[in-house]
Homo-oligomer: 355 residues x 2
């Protein structure tokens, strides 16, 4: 039997995956803001390269506290909205989890902070609730999972998502000390639900390293697409930009590997993972990504879409948090830093402009 | 008695300084292209914070060979036009000079290449000319001077220049081995003409180091103004961009000083210059320029003006040639390199767009 899900942030990512899960029989609850009335009255419409469909009736909510306790709370907000999260989290059944389907580094740690804030609210105000026995009440209980989404989708209207390409999810468990962690029974059940919903899904025992690997793509392409006002195709066709992309990728790989070394082997947990197996990105990852990107159809990155639509850029998750790691480990990453500085300027000016 | 001048490139720089020189009594010849008929028929109009004036009648030319031999050929083309120079140089009287009023590094060496090409033409085709006794016929004879222009001026229409601010010229002599060189009698006469023409002028015995010093400003502000689509004021007001400007300035200062060290002391010429005096930029130059720029009125840089008007950027003179020095000396300048790569992309796309 499928798990129950709450989707926090019913946009290009949450709307698509949530709708797929409901279509496959899972109980799904959608938290909405601007699209609430439309979705409550007319449901969700998906245009997808894997088959169009409409869900005429969905469970739509304006307030998280109206959502019944679920097994999995899917956080699909932009990371720039995470500061709002402590007021957007519904109750989680015991043995349930929060699953972040977000971009970048440090997003799970962000969520931990938010649920700690929520948990302290609960302890003071909800401790007499009759439901308190079957729901989680302390932050330390809560399992945090992360899912990396390799997908190209947009929200094209209220309750209307267009899925353009790809869609695979890579699922891993967050550990407070960044240890590796093999797939848990809960992760297996989530993977089964996603598979049933026609979403390709893989699991990793090293979520942080998977996030670093995705940054090898996201840092150069997301960042430069905004600074240069360019698609992936335009960037790949230009010799100097291609060189710059390579330099940025090299810096991310170097930083990832320095981070991998810095994580103490003694913190590696459970026994099925060899404590000595290296946590590194191989240098080949760079040429693989360059080649893959050349073969993609011309692509407007998610950061460019955010920029064009006047939304805040996911600057901290994609560039700022890696830079904090660089500072902590005393690693020089001049190209990432310069890209961050340029994007900070463009972002600050962009969100001040009238929409 | 004033010297005679030919102005090659009658735009914001050449038009302004040439008109000032003629106004003060010098014989000036203007080489023109698109503005030729207008200037021949109606002269040159200057709107200037130091006083407006019009020269109703000027010596206007479409072909360099129609210009009589002059004492000083002023090259005021954009450096991106220097490849055309070998067909744009009039004859120079013996003891005369070419004076480059151009931006960036390596522009004098560029001119030497061009006159060598011109000279080999002359030797083959003009050696029987009756004027050949009082004009220079070999490139090695030709004195090359450089003038750094600290000026804010624009061409606002055919034969119509607007001088907005500043205007000072710093004059130095180019030496084939980059030696220092104290002011020559010819430079003294040029300085006297400029002074008479109400143009503030100073002289330097170290033209290359003066060019490096100017790059400390030009690299960050010209480059970032295009990438970030911003005025000096907007950039200075943003903390991250201010940091990035500082990093770029540090790289230019480091590179300049490495270059200064690399120039062998034995190549220092004439005796009035101490062979051991250091050729370095002091670190204070960075804070001085930051402070000065903050005090300037909001300023659209020359590279931004070129970009906005769809002209080629002076990429090699301002960034590419310094990068070649960095490569030769094996100095890492990651921020300058990244800026160059970004600008190369923007420039290539910009000049392909319909004007």
């Amino acid at each position: 039997m499928p798990l129950s899900y709450a989707i926090i942030g019913t946009g290009a990512i949450g709307g698509y995956y949530g709708a797929r899960l409901q279509q496959a029989g899972a109980q799904v609850h959608f938290l909405l803001r601007s699209d609430y009335e439309q979705v409550r009255d007319r449901g969700i419409k998906i245009d997808s390269t894997d088959g169009d469909f409409t869900l005429p009736k969905v469970n739509a909510y304006l307030n998280a506290e109206d959502i019944p306790p679920v097994d999995v709370v899917v956080v699909a907000l932009k990371t720039t909205q995470n500061h709002l999260l402590k007021n957007l989290l519904p109750k989680i059944k015991s043995n349930g989890a929060i699953l972040s389907l977000q971009n970048g580094l440090g997003v799970e740690a962000d969520i931990v902070q938010q649920i700690e804030a929520t948990s302290s609210q609960s302890t003071s105000s909800r401790s007499t609730s009759p439901q308190s026995t079957d729901v989680q009440t302390t932050a330390s209980q809560t399992t945090i999972l992360g899912g990396l989404c390799f997908i190209c989708s947009n929200k094209v209207g209220p309750g209307h998502i267009r899925h353009l390409d790809y869609g695979k999810v890579l699922l891993g468990a967050h550990q407070r000390q960044h240890q590796r962690c093999p797939p848990t029974p809960l992760m297996q059940r989530i993977a089964a639900d996603f598979t049933r919903a026609k979403i390709a899904i893989d699991m990793t025992d090293d979520l942080p390293m998977a996030r670093w690997r995705k940054l090898v793509w996201n840092v150069p392409y997301n960042g430069l697409s905004v600074v240069l006002n360019a698609t992936t195709e335009e960037m790949m066709a230009h010799q100097e930009v291609r060189q710059l992309i390579t330099v940025l990728m090299q810096e991310v790989v170097m930083l990832a590997n320095a981070w991998g070394k810095s994580v103490s082997p003694s913190s590696v947990s459970p026994s099925s993972v060899s404590p000595n197996s290296e946590r590194t990105l191989p240098p080949e990852v760079i040429n693989q990504m360059l080649t893959q990107t050349e073969q993609m159809s011309p692509y407007r990155t998610s950061m460019k879409i955010d920029y064009d639509e006047g939304r805040s850029l996911e600057l901290n998750a994609i560039l700022g948090n890696p830079l904090q790691v660089a500072d902590r480990l005393n690693i020089q990453v001049p190209a990432i830093r310069m890209l961050y500085q340029q994007l900070a300027f463009l972002n600050d000016r962009n969100i001040l402009l009238p929409k």
